[in-house]
Symmetry: C2
Subunit: 275 residues, 2 copies
């Protein structure tokens, strides 16, 4: 673990990342000493920092630190957090640009059942509705209580269903937005459909990669509001993120799917690509 | 500064307070070794912890720690943070109830101009609109990016106006909700009016005290949606929180007020009360 380039596993209790969730993060997959799609993650990090007015640490420095980390821990889930740093008490960002805090952490790769990518997962629709905040939409920021509450819906003891691998989130307007920790795609009438993230949701690297794949393969792609009704009628559903890769959904509430030919093709293409 | 009862000024980078803003906080005023309205703050803390499913540290323990803190620092702004603690990677709260992290910090009392309570402040209407999330409404949680972005509207260099002491926040539906760091009251046609906080906003201790004051003094009080138009037509406006106490608003955008007889009476009564 590195905090501002030094070995360490703690931050100040006055860091705005803790006080206000005033920061952003990325989660990457590292295998054999290589972090997958690091340049794409850096682009997102930079975009998100800019959106919040945080000075993004520069890429050469972060890359050097990442290399150091991977030398010690070649495989794992890498988390990079950038907060606005410390400063005077109060919500207002410091008048003098604060020195951001940047944190690297690495955890063991999760041991998800390997057949999830091929056989698909069981998912549910969360009761929690995402709020709409255009100023924060798309950003992978540290204000993640909605995700926590949504994940808690079926992880507490009474309603525990360990078989459920992801929850789908709708917004207050009834649109289907994403998974708790993933982006969602529908295969619908020969097109790929994914949610418009201009009011809520997190725009992930893997979502961008699927969108790019569609362009390369002349597959129609729609980024737009998605009604729940369309989810039930989709030919295929799949979720993506940088750790799980891609999981098709085989069971969602009372509806089930058996084949995922489009998802399978995209997954094979994306798994083989290093970009 | 105390972290889990021990002297310390740092927390783990794996604390969910940092990772997800998964926690709550209180801010209290300490003078002459006494934290004002600590029992009321504890009630709120407990309420907010329960709402998020966090095990609230018990009051005797916290009171003992607070006393220790105040022995060393009898005057200041006391901040108490309770997070869900550490645990496994991922949004879902740990299946076994995590041990919450609790943090005490104390900062010097701010040196606000003393005439703000009598002459009133200049305030502005923020451009940012609060999102609506009934599951988090009223809770003083650590997801405060909306407050940060709102405060940044006039604290950055180009549009800096140091004279502006508070920003008022509206929600996405056009209702006036609160100040960035305070609750708002209107004196309107002989009644006190404050916003319904069931969809957004933070319910503060001082707001409760004003509401209790109204009941004691048979002053009509309405907790309801407030349209911006009503703000312009209010006889008085004032904001409250535990650090500033009460500040009337003398100037808001193009509108100004001169006298604040109701605010002044409430302030005198509340300042004199220790409950």
């Amino acid at each position: 673990m590195l905090v501002n380039g030094e070995q360490g596993n703690s931050i100040s209790i006055r860091d705005r990342g803790l006080l206000y969730g005033d920061g952003v993060f990325r989660t990457l997959n590292a295998m054999h000493g290589k972090a997958r799609h690091w340049p794409l993650h850096y682009q997102k990090l930079q975009h998100d920092c800019t959106a919040l007015g945080i000075a993004c640490p520069d890429m050469p420095m972060l890359s050097t630190e990442l290399d150091r980390l991977l030398l010690q821990h070649p495989d794992g889930v890498v988390k990079l957090i950038v907060t606005r740093g410390g400063g005077a008490r109060g919500y207002a960002p410091p008048a003098q640009e604060a020195t951001p805090t940047h944190i690297w952490d690495i955890s063991p790769l999760p041991d998800y059942p390997s057949d999830r990518a091929t056989l698909g997962i069981k998912a549910r629709i969360c009761q929690l509705r995402l709020s709409r905040q255009p100023r924060l939409a798309g950003i992978k920021h540290l204000n993640r209580l909605e995700n926590v509450l949504a994940a808690a819906e079926w992880s507490n003891v009474e309603s525990s269903d360990e078989d459920i691998a992801e929850g789908l989130l709708m917004d207050a307007g009834g649109n289907v937005i994403e998974g708790i920790r993933s982006n969602l795609f529908l295969v619908l009438a020969g097109a790929l459909v994914t949610a418009d993230l201009s009011r809520c949701g997190v725009s992930g690297v893997q979502r961008d990669r699927v969108i790019a794949w569609a362009a390369q393969h002349n597959m129609p792609l729609q980024v737009r509001d998605i009604r729940l009704d369309e989810v039930w009628h989709a030919d295929e559903l799949f979720v993506v993120n940088s750790i799980i890769g891609m999981w098709p959904i085989r069971e969602l509430e009372q509806r089930s799917w058996i084949d995922f030919p489009v998802a399978a093709k995209i997954r094979r293409d994306l798994d083989g690509s290093q970009t």
